[in-house]
Every structure is written in C-alpha cells, then in structure tokens.
Symmetry: none
Subunit: 204 residues, 4 copies
DNA sequence: AATGAATGAGTGTTCATTCAT
DNA sequence: TATGAATGAACACTCATTCAT
C-alpha cells in the first residue's frame, strides 16, 4: 500500500544488504497500514513489527523511534502528493484545466491511499512542523500557478495566498468526501464541478 | 476559553449544588486548554484536574472517562460553530453576503477558540462518529443555503453536495490559515476575497 | 434477606430515633445482598448505600468502615447458625437424631441465606479472627454433644475434637452442595444419609 | 513453595529461552506465596514481581492479567491435590485403607502447601468455575471409589453423591484444622480416627 | 441525621525502548 | 542483523473515607 518513493531519504539508517532492504520495506508498509487504520497512538511497535513479520527489536535497526518512523511516513506522503499533482498538471491546455486535472488525480490518489488523511491529520499532533510544511508548500504551489495564470492573462490579477488556501481547502475536503468517505462518484465529475466554481463562481 | 453553552446536555452528571457547578466548569475550561494545546493523548486527567485546581478523583464525579469528556467537548464545539454561523448569516441581504459574513465570523471564532481545530481534528481518531457528523451537518447547512439561493434565482441552479463540501473546505482552511496560524489579516478582507471567488470565479 | 437478630450488639453506633433504625436496617439488608452476591472486594459502599436507598455519607453514621460492617455481618451470621442449630436439636430423642435434625435445618437455613457461605468464606481474608472463631465454636458445640452422648452411653467413648471437625466438615459441605449449589433434594433425605454414616459407617 | 508440575499447560505464554523459564518460575513461586498469605485482592503485581526479583513489566510477558495468573495457580493446585490423592491410594489393601491413606497424605500436603486453602477458597470469588470444578471432580473421585468398594462387596451398597460430599467435607476440614491451623497431631492418627468413623460410625 | 461533593492513595495494565544472546 | 525477554515510567480509573452544608 505504501509506495516508498523517496523514503530512503527520510529513513534513519539505510540498509546495506538486500535482506535489510526487504525488512525495511516490510516495516514501512506495515506502518502505513497501522498508522492509517488505528492512528498514531493506537498503533504499537509490537503491532507494526508483528504485521511486518519481523522481530520487535529489529525495528530499532531502522528507526530511532516510533516518532521517527511516523515523521518519515508523513514526509513521504506529503512529497508524493506534490509529485502526483505535478504529474497531473503536465500537458494541461491552460491553468484552469490544470487545476481540474490535479483535483481529479488527487481524488484518485486518496482512494488508493486511504491512510493519507489520517496520517497527515495526525501529524498536526505528532510532527507539527511537517504538518504546517505540508500545507504551506502545497499552497505555495497553487499560488505560483495562479500567478502564472494571471501573468499570461488567462486569470484575473490580484489573487494570492488567500485564493491558494481556499482552493487547497476545496481540494482537501473534496478528496476527503469523495475519495475517502465514499467512492460513488466519478473523480472527473467532481473535479469538473469544482472547476466550474473556479471559472464562474456561483452566480448565474 | 471554553464557553460552555449547551454543555450541560453533553455532560455525564449534572451537579446539584453551586459548588459542583463551579467544579464542573473548572474541569471543562481546563480540559479545553489541555486538549487544545497538547492533544488528546498527551493530555492527562492529572494534568487537567491540576490545572482546574481540583482533586484527581473529582474528575470522575462529572465524567465517566477521559473519552467521555472529550466527546462532550467535541460536540459542544461543533454545535457552537453552527450557532455562530447561523447568527452571522442573520440579516444578510442575500445568500452570497450571508456566506461572506459567515466566513468572517468563523475566522473570528477560530481566533477566539484556538483549540477548535485540534479538538475537531483529533475527533477523527477519538470519536469518529462525531467527526463525520460535524462535517456532514456543516455541509448540509451550506447546501441548503445554496439551494435556497438557486430557488430564489440569485444563484445558478445545479449546485449541490459537491459545491457545499468545496465551500466548507475553503472556509475551514481559511480559518486555519488566518484564524489559527496567523492573525495578521482582517477577517473581513479574507472573507471578501473568498466571496469574490464564489461570485465570479478566477477568470477575468 | 438478612434477619438481624442480635445485630444491635455488633453494630458500631446504635440509632436513637426510629428513622435511624430504619436506615441502619436498610444498610444491613443491602450489605448482606451485596457481600453475598459480589463478595467483599467487589462490593462498594456506594453500591450498598445506593441499594439501601440512602446517601453515601450516611453509611458512616452507622459504621466505622467497610470492614466493620463486614465484621458485624459475619458475627451475626455465625451467631445465627448456632441459634438455628440449638433450636433444631431441641426435643430430639437422642444425640444422633439431634445431629440429623441439626443438619436438616442447617441445609434449610443455607437455602434461605445463600449469602452465608460467601460471607463466612470471605471472612477468612477480611476478618480471620471471626473466621476461626466461627468454626472453632461450632466444632466445640459438636464436641460437647458427642461427649454428652458418650457419657450417657449412647455413643462410643474416645471421640473428641477430630470427630467434631469431621462432622462439621460433612455438614458444611452438604450445606454447600445441597443448600446453595442445587436445591433438588429433600434436606431430610440428605440428613438421613449423613446420619446413617454416623450410625454405622460405610461397612455392610 | 509452589511446585509447578503441569503449570506449563496453564501458563499464558511459554518461554522459549532458559532465562525466560527462570523468570516464569520466579513469578509463579512469588505469586503462590503472595496469594497464599495476603489473599488475591491484597496481593499486587508490584508485590509479586518485587518478591520475584523481576521488573513489573515482565509479569505481562508471561500472564495476561492478575486474574489469569490466579486461575493458573488454582488449576494447578487443584490438579496437584488429585495427583497426590491418587498416589496415596496406590497399593492400598482395600477401599477404606485407601481412604485413610489419602486423608493422611492430604493433611501432609496441606502442611507443605499452606497456601492451598486460601487459594482454593478465594477461587470462589475470583474464578468460580474452577472452584466448583475443583470440588465436583474431587467428589466424583470419591464417589467412584465408594461404588467400586460396594461392587466388590467390601462396602455397603446404596451410597452415592451424598456420602462422597460428606467424606470430602470431612477431609477438607480435617486438613484445615490439623494441616493448616495447627500441626501438633500426627496425620496418621487423625486419618485413623476419621477412618474409624467411616468404618463403624459413632455408635458403640 | 442526612447529603453528596471532594479527596488522593493505590493498582492493573500498556508500551516504547534497551540489551543480552 | 535478528531476536525476544526485560525494563519501568506513565496513566486511567476505583473507591474508602472525609467534610462542608
């Protein structure tokens, strides 16, 4: 479930042997599931290592602490969200269709990674710096795209951080509602509805 | 910090004496601070009762458990948000100005109740039913307002749950950013920027 | 359920008013039920006073402590067993029929006072002196009857403490088995079987 | 003090290392002493582990709970009583001498395991199922021996459960009086006195 | 005499972390 | 590297007892 692109960078001790790499991967996958389903505090190292099929003590070969593991996971998920968004925006005809594609792909990502929300949300308590960093950089990316759109004349000028946070909020809650809580609707449809809001607002 | 309007209803055992009412109030205020600053798991009953200036055992005169206290707090905060929003919308010229006033007042509320976000967010882990309920009813209230606006011809038709969740997401994140993280900007100014998004979107 | 003959003597503070006597009686009755069904440690003063329908604090108007109440109950039950036995032996044709009548009536008593065993047994832990005293005086009474029977030529000589404890053990376990655990059989029938053991032993 | 024959079977988690086996044994021995001298409720895990010389937490490596440990001990003691009785009856000339030898050996066993009574008695409150089971199977064993004796013509026919419980009661109380409370008399002498009761009753 | 809120010592249990093997 | 036993701080919760009213 946890794709660990870039995790190497956040892990405490990089394994030298192939066997070590497998153990690390097993721990990370198990941790993503545990943290995602039970939350940080109700997850235990015993539970994670049991699920990973490794001995309790082996955990500390790879991570300094329960917190360190959680932080690694948070940073990894946060990075993935950025990567996925950037990929989705690629080749978009214009800024607004880019935003639409980003939201659609984000909802899909949330469906594939149900643990995303619980891990990011719990970071507010366990690793506040990462939590803040996660949202600030996501907002900064949006803001940059809005400004580029304004510069090219596609969008109105004068937008900034406020609009960026507003759009991020929309995306996050639509991902929660239609990605995690209930998968009935088509992500493209949701993204289109949200996009229309961005194009023309609510007025007739 | 914790205004306990309506808390009587959610408390486990209503005190019969004046002294009892003072003790209960002290516990609730202390709990809101503790939960809000340290989070549910890092808050302890000893810590809460010490801050409240009452004996440890007195806690259990009023609440069945740590969870029960937390739930009472979550439900109370959730209810307050609704009450504040309804009050803010009162006397608005039209639906959209109503939304603007609601957001402005919500940001003010968040500033006055910095614990709001941490308590609601942690409910995802401690009291999932309340968490879901909180957002679902907030979205339902928005959706109802949109539909009324459409019925009166003020807003375009065809909006529904998706737009409601999108607007809620905007509000929540603007409250987080400009209510809790940083109070530099004027709530009215933020609400106006968000409202323009709802009125005309991002296009020129 | 708890007949409190003689309890006045063991109670901590004798009430002076009629209202007080009613409260005391309510506490004692409630305590016998609680101690008998939940055991000493799982019984609580709150539970007892709640069952008695009086306020928690009122308990200490009548008893010094939970232990004191328990001790009063143990001594009372112990005394009642002696009284019942003496009454049953009255008017018996000879020593052995007296023993038979005593056992039959004891089984009846156990049926009417299911709490008897749990209270006496738990005294081993809560009030060891009473526990020991209870059995020692019961055994002494039996021994005295045997010696009287030997003196009159009805029973063989040479019996003493050992036989007394053996007979007491029989009675206690028959009361447990056929008084408390299961009430299917007639007490007279059981007493007769035990009595035949005392008359002729097990041999043909 | 606690011989742990067969305890392996009742223990929650069997240790895999020698060190583990030593720790478990230490805990069991300490527990038998604590439970036997202070009773279940006044014994504490801290007390038991302190006496065993291991850390508090180590307790939970081997037992799920205080109750589970107690249950293991009860079942073990109960089994031991059966084993000791069976061994004592071996090679007896006839049923009645078998009973005499069983009682004598039981009194010896009680002297060597003073904790026996308090542990079995407290099982009435802590583990009622085991308590009942203990006495029911002991009685069933006696009853089977009586019936075999009747079948062989040695004993009179018509005896059954009542006589079995009567004899068990005798044995239990003689063990209490002459094994636990006071060791002055010779077990053989006591067993002989009780046996005479079984042979000829009380009459001349 | 009655009430019920207040007190705080005590205890079972959890679990991150350490460490000997 | 891997293992799993050992450690002990921490904490929620209980409840007998006290006390102000």
């Amino acid at each position: 479930m946890a794709s660990d692109s870039g995790l190497a960078a956040t892990v405490d001790r990089t394994p030298r042997t192939e066997r070590g790499r497998r153990t690390l991967r097993a721990i990370l996958d198990a941790a993503a599931i545990e943290f995602g389903t039970r939350g940080f505090h109700d997850s235990s190292i015993v539970g994670i290592t049991a699920r990973a099929g490794v001995a309790l003590g082996s955990f500390y070969t790879y991570f300094e602490s329960k917190d360190a593991l959680f932080r690694a996971l948070v940073r990894d998920m946060s990075a993935q969200v950025g990567v996925v968004g950037a990929a989705a925006a690629k080749g978009a005809a214009d800024t607004l269709s880019g935003e639409r594609q980003i939201l659609a792909s984000f909802i899909g990502f949330a469906r594939a990674h149900k643990e995303l929300y619980r891990i990011i949300d719990e970071a507010e308590f366990v690793d506040p710096a990462s939590y803040r960093q996660h949202y600030e950089s996501a907002a900064a990316r949006i803001q940059a795209r809005l400004e580029a759109g304004a510069a090219s004349g596609e969008l109105r000028a004068g937008t900034g951080q406020i609009e960026a946070w507003a759009i991020m909020g929309m995306n996050v809650f639509l991902g929660l509602r239609y990605g995690v809580m209930d998968e009935a609707l088509d992500p493209g449809e949701i993204a289109e509805a949200a996009n229309m809001l961005l194009r023309k607002g609510l007025t007739r």
